[in-house]
Structure formats: structure tokens, C-alpha cells
């Protein structure tokens, strides 16, 4: 499996800047030059094996790739094909295969992304190919016996796999750093976490392919034996990715239920979710905490659904008969383990905006409370239609527990980010 860049669907994605374009150009040039150098140094034999490997690359493309991590990274079997090319033909062939696979993947991607993928895969192929040779691999040699095979194919494949993974992650982290402004170390960590184990695990599939092909003498027929394990892995990850998407949908039904109960809150939950997540990010919280803040913002009003409809529609959340709704929401969500991190903020978000309440509230509760109240004041408005301006709302919120300087600053930044996206 390999990880490649793909264009996120959501409009909040940053535009490709100048620095990114220059970098993409560099990666493409490096990929081409390395492949040319490999042809010169190591030679390239275009034989039947080469064509079958190329066919395998087309098949890998045909299976498509699976998006993980909300579409920011996709997994595909490119690296298995590259490893096979390195071990069966050599570094130059791996470079050519890489160059050709890159643009094939995700044809809907913009040109820059495809050029980048092409350069990246070519680099991975050539660097990995030489790593294979350095570790004692010898394309065309047929070792016999377990130890011989492990030494001459197993270890080189594993080493080449690690090397190509490192090249993959570093090149990718730089582009994400340039395009999205995320720190490189966090990037590499996140990518390793999502695709690292699978990547190394599927190196074994490449090993099996090479053993079947050469020492076992099966030749190109080995491709057909190796396809089902590839498909099954792809299938499992695809199902998983679908399921994660479905999850998000289920949360939206919860939001829709709130809106059916309280039509005047239409759009409120999603705005609070986005604002909360954005503020949490500005405050430098970890990614899990950001996700929790988002979900808490989305579901903070869920408890309203268990109150009498007439009451919910006639009074504001400040009414004393409504006071139980945060704890009712928590009660509803208690059994859901994946929401455990969001419950505290849901339970205490109201206290965050009541002047003079306890001062030991969690940051998440303060963030969600602030986002909620701010949105109620400036977007939803009171029952008689009074809507405040941003400045009026901020002045009003200054005296509450969530009116802390750092929180208000985060709110301000989150608002300008929102304005920037919608502009």
C-alpha cells in the first residue's frame, strides 16, 4: 500500500500556492532524473516481465484506491507493484512504473497533484530499487531454500519497503506542510499511524509475488494468485472507510432531529460544530480534542429533543424549565464509546456562559459554550428577532467564564477563517 496526495473535497482546502508549485516541479524533475540515471547506471531490460509488471500496475489502478482520514490521504497498492518491479526487473523499471502510475491514480485530481504523484512514485521506485540491491537483492537470481530466499529476497524487499515508505512520507509531508500549513512532524506521525502498519504488512505480499514468480518458477501466472489477497485487503479497507463515512451521516441525523424539534435552530448545530473545532485548533489542542470539540458542538443541543415540543419552540435555552437539556443530552449519548471525549463539553457548555458560575470548567466546555452562545446571539437571535453584531456579542460574553482573553482571540481567528472560506 502506499499513501498519495489527493485533493480534499471540502472547499476549505487551501489553494495551491507558489511555493507548492515550485516544490511539485522539483519533485517531478527529481523523479525523471533519477529514473534516467538508473537506466544509465543499472540498465533497463524491457522484457515480458516488465510488461506484466506494468499490467499489474494498471490492475492496481483499476481497483482504485481507498480514501482514509476524511479524504486527505488515499491508500492504494502502488507500493506493492513498485516493490515487485524493483525485485523482478530493477530500479530503472520501478522508476518508469512509478512515473506511469502516478498520474493514473484518481483521474479527477488536479494536474498538480497528478504531476506530484508521478514524481513521487518515480523517486520511490528508483530509491527503493537501489535499496533492494544494496540489501543483497539480485533481480533475475533464483535462490533456493528458506534461508537463502529470506536473505536474498525477504530482507531486501523489507528494506526497500521501509526506504520507499520513508521517501513517500517525507515528500508527502512537505507538500502538506506547504499547502495546508500543518507541521511536518505531526504530518509524518499521522501518516505513519494511518498507513504505516498496512504498508509494511503488504510488503509481505510483494515478497510472496516475487518468490512465486522467480524461485518457484510460476512466472506471470503468480499475478493471478496474488490478486485475491490484494482485493481482499482493498475490500476490507474500503468497507472500513465506508463505515466511517456512514458514521458521520448518523451524526447528521441526530442534528436533523434537533432541527425538527426546534426549527428555529436550523443550521445552528453545524455552525457551532465548525466554530468549536476551529477555535480548538487555534488554541493548539491535539487532533482528538479538536474532533471531540466538533462533535460536542454538533450535538450540544441533543437533549432538547426529549423536552416537550411546545416548550422548546416557545422559549430560549435560558428558561429554567429548559435547564436540564445538557444533562439529558449526555444521558442519551452515554453508551456511545466514540463520543466519550465530547460528553463533558455537552454537559457543561451552558455553565460556560452564565456569569459567576464555577471557574473549573474544561477548555472544551468553554469553547463549545462560547461558540454556542455567540451563534445564538449573532445568528439565531431572540424570540422577538433581536440579532446582535459580533462586537455587541463579544462585549456581552466578556463577563462570563468563557470570556477569557485567549478564547475570545481564538473565536476572532475562527471567525475570520470562516469569513475567508465563504468569501
Amino acid at each position: 500500500m502506499s499513501t498519495e496526495a489527493s485533493e480534499p473535497d471540502h472547499p476549505a482546502s487551501p489553494r495551491v500556492g507558489r511555493a507548492t508549485s515550485v516544490y511539485v516541479g522539483c519533485v517531478a524533475v527529481v523523479g525523471i532524473s533519477l529514473t534516467a540515471a538508473a537506466i544509465r547506471v543499472d540498465g533497463l531490460e524491457i522484457d515480458a516481465t516488465f510488461w506484466v509488471v506494468l499490467l499489474l500496475a494498471v490492475l492496481a489502478w483499476w481497483f482504485g484506491s481507498v480514501e482514509v482520514d476524511s479524504g486527505r490521504v488515499t491508500l492504494s497498492f502502488t507500493s506493492i507493484v513498485l516493490l515487485a518491479a524493483m525485485a523482478l526487473v530493477g530500479p530503472a523499471a520501478a522508476g518508469i512504473v512509478g512515473m506511469l502510475i502516478g498520474p493514473m491514480h484518481e483521474a479527477r485530481n488536479p494536474l498538480t497533484v497528478r504531476i506530484f504523484n508521478s514524481g513521487m512514485f518515480a523517486t520511490m521506485g528508483v530509491v527503493g530499487g537501489f535499496a533492494y540491491l544494496v540489501a543483497g537483492g539480485d533481480p533475475g537470481n533464483d535462490p533456493v531454500g528458506p534461508w537463502q530466499i529470506v536473505r536474498e529476497i525477504g530482507i531486501p524487499v523489507l528494506f526497500a519497503d521501509v526506504v520507499q515508505l520513508v521517501v513517500n512520507l517525507v515528500l508527502l509531508a512537505v507538500v502538506v506542510r506547504l499547502a495546508a500549513g500543518m507541521p511536518m512532524r505531526a504530518q509524518v506521525g499521522r501518516l505513519l499511524g494511518t498507513s504505516g502498519p498496512a504498508h509494511l504488512g503488504y510488503g509481505i505480499i510483494a515478497f510472496i509475488l516475487v518468490v512465486l514468480w522467480e524461485p518457484a518458477g510460476l512466472g506471470s501466472a503468480s499475478v493471478f494468485l496474488i490478486l485475491p489477497p490484494l482485493v481482499v485487503a482493498q475490500w476490507a479497507y474500503r468497507q472500513y472507510a465506508e463505515e466511517v463515512k456512514g458514521h458521520e451521516r448518523a451524526l447528521h441525523v441526530l442534528v436533523a432531529a434537533v432541527e425538527a424539534k426546534a426549527p428555529h435552530l436550523m443550521g445552528h448545530s453545524i455552525r457551532v460544530a465548525d466554530l468549536s473545532a476551529s477555535m480548538a485548533e487555534q488554541l493548539g489542542l491535539r487532533s482528538q480534542a479538536v474532533a471531540d470539540a466538533r462533535v460536542a458542538g454538533m450535538l450540544h443541543d441533543l437533549g432538547l429533543t426529549t423536552l416537550p415540543t411546545g416548550l422548546v419552540r416557545s422559549t430560549g435555552v435560558g428558561n429554567s424549565r429548559m435547564r436540564t437539556y445538557p444533562s439529558r443530552g449526555v444521558q442519551l449519548l452515554q453508551g456511545l464509546s466514540f463520543l466519550s471525549g465530547a460528553l463533558d463539553a455537552i454537559a457543561h457548555h451552558r455553565e460556560a456562559v452564565v456569569p459567576g458560575s464555577r471557574d473549573d470548567l474544561s477548555v472544551a466546555a468553554l469553547v463549545v459554550g462560547l461558540a454556542d452562545e455567540f451563534d445564538l446571539l449573532t445568528e439565531v437571535g431572540t424570540a422577538d428577532g433581536v440579532v446582535l453584531s459580533t462586537q455587541e456579542a463579544v462585549d456581552l460574553l466578556r463577563s462570563t467564564p468563557s470570556g477569557r482573553e485567549d478564547l475570545l482571540r481564538a473565536l476572532d481567528q475562527a471567525l475570520s477563517r470562516r469569513a475567508g472560506v465563504s468569501a
Partner: protein
């Protein structure tokens, strides 16, 4: 010992069990004294494969639907079927009986461990696996075409490995098919669902995994001449990774269902519907669906729709007394269903679920007389909902009888007769339509 032997009323399960016993007995009888001699020659090979089969059986893979598979055990057993030359070991020149007895040993060892741990054993499923592998072994080592067995072709250097690979994959595919046909026969009998539907689910849910198991055996046999016994763990590794992926997938499915179930709690906590009503309707609806042979995918959507069938009550200003929609006026029922569907449609990808919720109030008469299209899932929810409203969730035989009678009165007019018949089957026995072999914990 309930879960070791099948119940008295399950003739198919007994037939499969008997054929398993027969395969083992024939293997022992025909193999006779040579079994021990052959074991002495191949002790290391046999030990490695029997261990792999046992371990694979102990770590079964649980599918999202609740069915279990043992891909590592099946792949190891099939690998043993084809094994010929092994680097560093004598050529595995044994007959099909020896293979059957060795595989049976591994399967029974695992069954013994499971029984000792108090887990469900399901000897009929074990027998199905043995018969499948024995069939493959017979095809590979005893069946001759032009005087040659498949095994004979494997050790003949003049035969193209292409041909051998294709032959092995075909035989492995046949062996697995026999296993799946038998185990789905047993399963459909236990769930009281149509055999064909069970067979389709058995092949369908795990089709890619089954394909991977089919090729793993031949892979091991083809690599063994150069890689030796190491070829077994190497070929099983991709399957082992699949365990992790399927595990995560199953876990995700569970939390997704929990999220949907949370939605059913909204109306309960608001006092609109009785506690547990939606869960009971979903449980009964899914069981009726299985009896009717509905596909896995449709069953899942049926389950979600059943959990959400009362969601529309959430925006009612005045709750319906007792929340029982079966007693509400038809137009109110319709409004509630429409509102529920409208809320569900807010989420992308749940359209089918919303359709099922929307159509749940349509009387069957409109299907019959006006030719209106009402999804089977909606008809099932209508019946399951009425049944639960009428019994109030009680399984008291008198109440169940009265509810069945009342629903029968609406037969053909309100309710689909086919579904009502399935309801009668499902309410006659609590094990009907359940995937798990054990009874659910009492509520």
C-alpha cells in the same frame, strides 16, 4: 453440551454431522496401518499444519452479520491438500485419507479446546469444513484424468506450472464451495430461512475473503519446493492482516448501529414511545426478514429503519397515548412516518432507510389492489410494530397469541400474508432467525 450437538429437530445438521463422521471413519479405515507409518515420515510437516488448523479454528473471524469464518484454518487445510515437494522435508506423497484424518485431528483439537473453554463448538459446522477439505483432497490426490492425478502433475517437471496452478485453484474452489453449501444448509435450517438466501449470504458477504482463502492453499504448495515450511506463514500473513481490517470494520458497524439506536432513544426519553419498543421491533423485524430470506444489506437497512420508525413523533406537540402508532388514526400514522423520513433524509446515504420508514404505514391492500410498490422491509416493519404495540413487549404466550390473532384479522387488508406467516414462525421459537447459536441474554 447444548451447543456441541445439533438439536433433535434439525435433520440437515445431523446429516452434515453424519457425513463428517463418515469421512473420518472412512479415512481411518482405508488408511489403516499405513497412517502411522506415514505420520512417522512426515511428522514435522503434519505437526506444523495441524497446529495451524487448530489455531486458525480457535481464532475465528467474526463477520459484521454475526457469522463466523475461520480463513486461516481453511487456507491451512487446503494447503495441506496440495502439498507435494517441500524444501528440507520428504515429498508429501500421502493419499487423501491421510489428509482427511490429519485435518480432522486439527479441527477436533480446536473443538476440544473450545468445549473446555465453554465456548460454542458447533460440530455440524466443523463437519461441513471437514467434508469440504476431504472433497478437495480426493479430487487432488485420488481422482484421475487421463491416468494422472492433479498431485501427479505437481511433481511432474514437464507440466507447466500455469496448468497446475489453475487446477489447484479450481479444486480448492470446489472444496470451499462444498463447505459453504453444507454450512449454509445447516444455518438456514436453524434460522428457518430459505437455503438459497443463506447460501447467497455465505458467498456474498465474504466473497473477496473466500477468494483469498482459495488461492492461499495453492500458493503454499507452489512456494514449498523452494521456501519449505516457511511458505505456510508467508502465505497466511496477508489473510492475518485481513483479520485486523475486518475486526475494525465490524467494530465500526457496531458503533454505527449504536448511534442509530441512540436516535430511537430520543422519542423514548421524551415519553413519546415505550422504552425498548424500537429495539424490539428491530430485533423481531430482522428475524422475520431472515425467515423471508432477505439479503444481508437489506436486512441492515431494515434494522435501521425499524429502529427509527417512530422518529417522526419527536416533533409532535402532543404525544400519542402510550406511543402505540397501531392505535393512532391512519393520517396521523402517515404524518409521523413522513416526518421521520424527512429527518432521516437529512443524512446522505440513508435514503433507502428513509423510504422504508415512509412506506411503513401503507396498508397491504394498496399493494394488492392498486399495485403500489411497498418495499418488503416496510411491510415487515408494519407487522413487527403492530405485534410489539399489541403485546407491549411481553412474551407471555397468551398475549402473543392474542396479538397474532389480531394481526391475522388485518391479513390481506392491513398486512402482507407472507410476512404474517413469517411472524408466526418467528414468534413460535426464540431461536428462529438468529445468527448467533446462543440465545440472547434475557432482557
Amino acid at each position: 453440551m447444548r451447543s456441541v450437538l445439533p438439536g433433535r429437530h434439525l435433520p440437515r445438521a445431523w446429516a452434515v454431522l453424519a457425513s463428517g463422521v463418515l469421512v473420518l471413519a472412512m479415512g481411518l479405515y482405508a488408511g489403516g496401518g499405513t497412517l502411522l507409518d506415514q505420520l512417522a515420515i512426515h511428522q514435522l510437516t503434519v505437526a506444523v499444519f495441524v497446529t495451524a488448523i487448530t489455531v486458525g479454528e480457535l481464532f475465528r473471524l467474526k463477520m459484521p452479520s454475526g457469522r463466523e469464518a475461520a480463513p486461516l484454518a481453511s487456507a491451512s487445510a487446503l494447503a495441506f491438500v496440495f502439498l507435494a515437494e517441500i524444501y528440507g522435508q520428504p515429498v508429501l506423497d500421502v493419499d487423501a485419507d491421510f489428509v482427511a484424518v490429519a485435518v480432522a485431528t486439527g479441527l477436533l483439537l480446536a473443538a476440544g479446546v473450545r468445549a473446555a473453554q465453554g465456548r460454542a463448538v458447533g460440530l455440524d459446522q466443523v463437519a461441513a469444513r471437514l467434508v469440504g477439505v476431504a472433497t478437495a483432497a480426493w479430487l487432488a490426490r485420488a481422482f484421475t484424468l487421463n491416468g494422472q492425478t492433479l498431485w501427479g502433475l505437481e511433481v511432474d517437471p514437464t507440466v507447466s506450472p500455469w496448468l497446475v496452478a489453475i487446477g489447484m485453484v479450481a479444486v480448492a474452489g470446489l472444496g470451499i464451495s462444498v463447505e459453504l453449501v453444507l454450512s449454509s444448509a445447516v444455518r438456514s435450517e436453524r434460522q428457518r430461512s430459505p437455503w438459497l438466501a443463506a447460501l447467497r449470504d455465505e458467498f456474498g458477504e465474504v466473497a473477496p475473503l473466500t477468494a483469498a482463502v482459495v488461492v492461499s492453499g495453492p500458493m503454499v504448495a507452489l512456494m514449498a519446493p523452494v521456501l519449505g515450511l516457511l511458505s505456510l506463514p508467508a502465505a497466511l500473513f496477508p489473510l492475518a492482516i485481513t483479520y485486523l481490517a475486518v475486526g475494525r470494520y465490524t467494530q465500526n458497524r457496531v458503533t454505527y448501529r449504536q448511534t442509530i439506536a441512540t436516535l430511537s432513544h430520543l422519542t423514548e426519553q421524551g415519553g413519546y414511545t415505550p422504552t425498548g419498543h424500537a429495539e424490539r421491533v428491530a430485533d423481531l423485524g430482522v428475524r422475520i426478514g431472515r425467515v423471508l430470506g432477505i439479503s444481508d444489506r437489506e436486512l441492515r437497512e431494515l434494522e435501521y429503519a425499524a429502529l427509527l420508525h417512530d422518529l417522526g413523533q419527536i416533533s409532535l406537540v402532543e404525544p400519542i397515548p402510550g406511543g402505540a402508532t397501531v392505535l393512532a388514526a391512519p393520517t396521523d400514522q402517515r404524518d409521523i412516518a413522513d416526518e421521520g423520513a424527512r429527518i432521516i433524509r437529512h443524512a446522505e446515504g440513508l435514503d433507502t432507510v428513509a423510504d422504508y420508514v415512509e412506506a411503513q404505514t401503507t396498508p397491504y391492500r394498496q399493494v394488492r389492489e392498486l399495485g403500489e410498490e411497498v418495499p418488503m422491509a416496510s411491510r415487515i416493519i408494519k407487522v413487527a410494530n403492530a405485534f410489539d404495540d399489541l403485546t407491549g413487549g411481553s412474551d407471555d404466550p397468551d398475549q402473543v397469541r392474542v396479538a397474532n390473532e389480531r394481526i391475522h384479522l388485518g391479513l390481506g387488508y392491513q398486512y402482507d400474508p407472507e410476512v404474517v406467516e413469517a411472524l408466526a414462525v418467528a414468534t413460535s421459537d426464540t431461536t428462529v432467525g438468529r445468527v448467533e447459536e446462543r440465545l440472547p441474554a434475557p432482557r
